[in-house]
């Protein structure tokens, strides 16, 4: 059982990584990765919603009739998202401001709904937790990596700390929408190369 749980956990880290392998949940991936702080916060927020809804849904899966499962799942997810949103607004107002719209949009992140459907609604709670953690961390590390690249190139800093010094001319495009698309495109392409090498 432990082995199984470990497998579920590791699944999301690389083999079925939500962003670079499954290519889902792209909106926040692109929108909030202009600074590492945002990327990390988004990753944690998403992971939290993922974890809590997977727990709830795997616990109550028996009581939800099949034909309303999607609306029910969305409702449950939306509840947790609202919770996250108010929580951030109350205690981390700066982060809440910079992530603005993208916290509520966690509701429609295919990753979350997808995992409920594909995993939580069919598996015991223990495994659901492992899956949510794995997927959440898998989602977060890519966000952080991407935002680190973008912040470093686009502002010469990481976590707001200047790294590259004053000689560096920040490549502003990296923190603009265009830079988001291009750097994610290059990243996924690069991961494809790694994957192909692996095979």
């Amino acid at each position: 059982m432990l082995k199984r749980i470990l497998y579920d956990f590791k699944n999301g880290l690389w083999r079925e990584n939500p962003i670079i392998v499954l290519v889902i949940g792209m909106c926040p991936t692109l929108a909030v990765t202009n600074t590492v702080q945002n990327g990390l916060a988004m990753g944690i927020a998403t992971s939290f919603v993922l974890l809590s809804s997977e727990i709830v849904i795997s616990l109550f899966k028996k009581f939800i009739p099949n034909n309303v499962r999607i609306p029910s799942f969305i409702l449950i997810i939306a509840t947790f998202v609202t919770f996250t949103d108010f929580f951030l607004k109350a205690f981390f107002p700066d982060i809440a401001t910079s992530l603005s719209l993208f916290i509520p949009l966690i509701v429609v992140n295919c990753l979350i709904l997808g995992r409920q459907e594909a995993f939580a609604s069919k598996n015991p709670t223990r495994r659901a937790i492992a899956d949510a953690l794995g997927m959440g961390i898998g989602f977060t590390w890519v966000l952080v990596l991407l935002s680190a690249v973008r912040e470093l190139l686009g502002m010469g800093s990481i976590f707001g700390l200047t790294i590259l010094g004053s000689w560096y001319q920040p490549m502003v495009i990296m923190i603009l929408p265009a830079g988001a698309f291009i750097s994610l495109g290059v990243l996924v392409g690069f991961m494809n190369v790694l994957k192909r090498r692996g095979n």
């Binding site: 202009n34 009739p65 409702l75 108010f86 607004k89 109350a90 401001t97 502003v172 923190i175």
Partner: protein
């Protein structure tokens, strides 16, 4: 079939109700904190644009909220107002404080904007904002070199539009204040 529908209705309703209860609780729990943050931010902004004010009063005039600042002696030393207008990407919101006695600006503070980071976003920088400190009322010229006259505003290099936007919002705000307080005295 009917049974199915009723089951459907019950499930959704129950989940809806549970979520409503949970969220009401969260809302009640977090509201004080959020309001506190907002009030604090507002206060900070007013303080930034009316630095000498000891006391601030909210006044409604012509459907607009004005913040009047008084010194310790109860003299009205200035008025602050929220103003907004289109920027380069999206709406720019700012707060401006003026001395209506001498028709001069105290300072401005950018509340929110979506200007290009590293460029237009520098409207939030002191260097640009200082353009407006102690400026007389009037129509300003945005120039791409060093400002030579009082009426010139030095644009941020590479972000002329953002600079112009802020300037025109400021101009608009001054006119509002002047019309409310019978400007130009």
């Amino acid at each position: 079939m009917e049974k199915k529908i009723s089951k459907l209705v019950i499930t959704l309703t129950v989940i809806g109700i549970i979520s409503a209860i949970a969220l009401s609780f969260v809302y009640q729990w977090t509201t004080p904190y959020i309001e506190e943050h907002q009030a604090e931010a507002q206060k900070k902004a007013i303080n930034a644009v009316l630095p000498q004010a000891e006391e601030v009063k909210e006044v409604e005039k012509a459907g607009q909220t004005f913040y009047e600042g008084y010194d310790s002696n109860g003299n009205r030393i200035g008025v602050a107002i929220n103003a907004s207008g289109p920027g380069y990407q999206n709406v720019i919101e700012l707060m401006i404080g003026v001395n209506i006695n001498v028709d001069k600006i105290y300072a401005i503070k950018i509340l929110s904007h979506e200007e290009t980071p590293g460029l237009g976003a520098r409207i939030n920088g002191d260097e640009f904002k200082s353009n407006f400190v102690d400026k007389e009322f009037g129509d300003y010229d945005v120039v791409k070199r060093q400002a030579k006259t009082e009426m010139e505003v030095e644009a941020i290099a590479g972000a002329t539009i953002s600079s112009k936007s802020v300037t025109s919002i400021v101009e608009k705000a001054i006119k509002q204040i002047q019309s409310a307080y019978g400007g130009g005295a």
